[in-house]
């Protein structure tokens, strides 16, 4: 059965920065599918190679700041868009795309399917354990949307779900 890793990125004490962590945590709590694992992390780089092997699908939830973006908006990005998210590249590490390519070349079983969700945030610089109001308000909707798009609620497999649609 296809195995999925649901990875939330962020810093739990930097206000909106925690939104990726909170979303995957909530998804994990309501999920019934055993083939989906949930992980929270402050970065996604070369460390991924230590635990990514064996998954067929990777879903990343991270925060993003775009010019003119509305806090709480949800974007679905491709691997090529990674440089614009907040935790997927770092001045003293390799970025996720390079890490995944490296893993492939080294013979590690890297997920063939990668989905990246980025949530527009307002304030990721203030020490605080709750998000700003607009982001806070958007969280339940974001959880539903990701769960639905990625079919994370159902106990049926992805193939079964596709048949139901």
């Amino acid at each position: 059965m296809a195995k999925t890793l649901l990875l939330g990125l962020g810093n739990s004490i930097l206000k909106d920065d925690a939104v990726g962590l909170r979303v995957v945590r909530a998804l994990g709590e309501r999920m019934t599918r055993e083939e989906v694992d949930v992980q929270e992390s402050s970065f996604a780089n070369i460390d991924l190679l230590d635990f990514l092997g064996g998954y067929d699908r990777l879903i990343i939830v991270d925060s993003i700041k775009t010019e003119g973006g509305k806090p709480g908006d949800l974007y679905r990005l491709n691997l090529g868009d990674l440089d614009s998210t907040l935790h997927l590249s770092c001045p003293h590490d390799i970025n996720l795309a390079t890490a995944l390519e490296l893993g492939k070349r080294l013979g590690i079983h890297i997920p063939g399917e990668i989905g990246i969700y980025a949530i527009e945030v307002e304030d990721n610089e203030t020490f605080c354990e709750t998000c700003s109001p607009m982001v806070e308000e958007a969280i339940p909707r974001i959880i539903d949307e990701i769960a639905q798009r990625e079919q994370l609620n159902s106990s049926t497999s992805i193939l079964d779900s596709k048949r139901l649609v």
Partner: protein, 387 residues
């Protein structure tokens, strides 16, 4: 160890193995593997993972350790864990030796690279700071802070708790990060040379402040380093890569020594504090420099004030100066600014392995770079951005 391994092989080595002017699409760890072989790539990943695993066994997590408690740590290691670490430590030492050999083969046997390291564009003449043991050998966890001047003469040696008597922080309106300097000399601006109060920390500095390394192979490597680079102090920013590999050898040897220490499995790992603390300063040598943690507490032991000077912060002013010097040295009137030339400037920045998102806890964890090229009258000729 995992930080030094990653920095050298993933971020520094591509500049030398592929060349500073190589296509950026190839000038990375993937290009490195193409050039030196897949097996070396596997060794890099394996040894970095071993170093991470050792920290996980010791402290619960590989990054952001969760075992520190007032009076000690939350757990010791079992004999079974010790044996596991021992096996990994042996492999790590062999790999550290390989790293140094690779540097010698690729960099030192290529006179153009030696000349590049020693070229004026990459020299930043500063004071240096680092932790040393009682014999003035490099130490990462314990000892006294030693400061040497631009000629490697000791100008201060102090207990970590006295750091505020020796360090002050300058503020600039254009940076959210402070600029530490030596209090006794004072802030003289972004200037290098013997009158400057600016100091550097991290591998280059640690080797400059110490009288040697506390382990045999690292000592050998230390001697070769200074012999080749013209004696102490070494002011070349690019030599930081070599210094990093000397430290990797030391760390691997020390790890192997500690894991064979009879007391390493002693379950007495904590002394329960019986007094309410009021103030404390802790210092370690982090991969990117001397790391100061200073806490004050109230009568209940609750923290009321915190001051941190993290590794990269020590090097904030020198980073600015090294970039400026590289740019001035490499871009002259009429110079065509190529991608390779920009990379050569970035190499002055990259050698510090700066952790700017960690140093400030704000702004995106990515590194947008912008280069503004001006003519001799200050008029902007070109702007280049990498977001």
């Amino acid at each position: 160890m995992h930080s030094h391994i990653l920095h050298f092989f993933a971020l520094a080595a591509p500049d030398f193995v592929l060349g500073p002017d190589a296509n950026p699409a190839e000038r990375n760890i993937l290009g490195l593997i193409n050039k030196v072989g897949l097996d070396i790539g596997k060794e890099v990943i394996k040894n970095r993972a071993f170093a991470q695993e050792t920290q996980k066994i010791l402290a619960g997590r590989a990054t952001h350790l969760v075992w520190s408690l007032p009076g000690g740590v939350s757990k010791g290691i079992t004999e079974e864990e010790r044996k596991k670490i021992l096996e990994m430590a042996k492999v790590n030492l062999e790999f550290a030796k390989f790293g140094l050999k690779l540097f010698e083969e690729v960099v030192l046997k290529n006179q153009a690279y030696v000349d590049l390291i020693l070229s004026d564009a990459y020299q930043t003449v500063t004071n240096y700071m680092g932790l040393v043991d009682r014999n003035n050998k490099v130490n990462f966890y314990d000892g006294m802070i030693r400061v040497v001047d631009t000629e490697a003469k000791e100008i201060a040696k102090f207990k970590p708790a006295d750091y505020l008597q020796h360090i002050k922080e300058h503020v600039e309106p254009w940076s959210y990060l402070k600029f530490p300097f030596l209090k006794k000399i004072g802030w003289k601006g972004f200037v290098e040379g013997p009158t400057s109060g600016i100091y550097r920390a991290a591998p280059l500095a640690r080797l400059n402040v110490a009288d040697g390394m506390a382990t045999p192979l690292a000592q050998e490597a230390y001697e070769k380093y200074f012999d080749t680079l013209g004696g102490k102090p070494v002011h070349s920013t690019l030599a930081t890569h070599w210094a990093r590999l000397v430290e990797l050898i030391y760390a691997a040897e020390r790890q192997l020594e500690l894991v064979q220490d009879i007391e390493i499995t002693d379950p007495k790992v904590r002394v329960i504090p019986n007094k309410v603390p009021d103030e404390g300063v802790g210092v370690v040598e982090a991969p990117r420099g001397t790391l100061y943690h200073h806490y004050k507490t109230d009568e209940k032991g609750m923290v009321t004030r915190v001051n941190l000077i993290v590794g990269t912060t020590n090097n904030n002013a020198p980073i600015c100066m090294s970039i400026r010097k590289a740019a001035r040295g490499l871009i002259k009137a009429g110079t065509i600014v190529t991608e390779g030339l920009l990379n050569r400037i970035e190499m002055a920045f990259r050698a510090y392995d700066p952790c700017l998102s960690c140093a400030t806890h704000s702004l995106p964890g990515q590194m947008p770079l912008q280069v503004t090229i001006r003519d001799s009258r200050g008029k902007i000729v070109k702007k280049i951005s990498r977001d």
